[in-house]
Symmetry: C2
Subunit: 103 residues, 2 copies
DNA sequence: GCTTAGGTACGAATGTCTACGTACCTTCGA
DNA sequence: TCGAAGGTACGTAGACATTCGTACCTAAGC
């Protein structure tokens, strides 16, 4: 279980990193998907639609994780992905609504 | 007066372009400066602090303009820079507050 | 007319992002 | 035990971003 780490604390989440992460349309799609689900559902990385290759996916989820947008828990076999809804709402109020409202 | 154009309409302002533009700390600084001023003050490009070279500045202001964040009017000699406050507030409510609240 | 200040355009160098293949790891199910 | 599924790590290739220098333009002031 290599680096399941790289999660910043709530107070360490930086606006620049968040905006950079959200600048990519693929990553915005992932966040929008997570926002659509009511509560903080845990999803697998593959469950978001099969665009791109495995390694590319890993890359994008690492960016999201390191920026503080999602949390990934190691389930051995797989990785549970959850949106850090409360942290983001507290740190950057209005941000998630902005993403949710796209398109 | 080369391309003083490249301003998207309000409805054409895309979230992706806006987020990309705001991902850069220099450009966020410019927007924050503009937000600090009460009304839609027209400022020159040079008035934001003298970081970097002239051509780099031009580049960053072009990104901001093409993303729809600022408006640049040709005053012959200089270029008046204004924040597209109303357009942004209408299209992406909460966005500007997010930028203003940084740091 | 000349100079200066504020800007743009273009090209080049450098750097960062994105995407991919390959190899490898871990668990679940046959 | 042997796949197969879900992921990571690493290296690499191509695309895009950032920065700069240089040349050029326009209006204002002398």
């Amino acid at each position: 279980m290599p680096d399941a780490e790289g999660h910043p604390e709530r107070s360490e989440i930086e606006l620049g990193a968040v905006l950079s992460a959200l600048a990519d349309p693929l990553r915005r799609t992932v966040i929008r998907e997570l926002l659509r689900a009511e509560d903080d559902v845990e999803r697998t990385c593959t469950s978001f639609g099969l665009w791109e290759s495995k390694s590319t996916r890993t890359h994008h989820f690492r960016v999201l994780r390191q920026a503080g947008l999602v949390r990934q828990v190691d389930r051995g076999n797989m990785r549970g992905v959850t949106l850090r809804r409360a942290d983001l709402a507290a740190r950057f109020p209005g941000l998630l609504e902005l993403i949710a409202g796209e398109r």
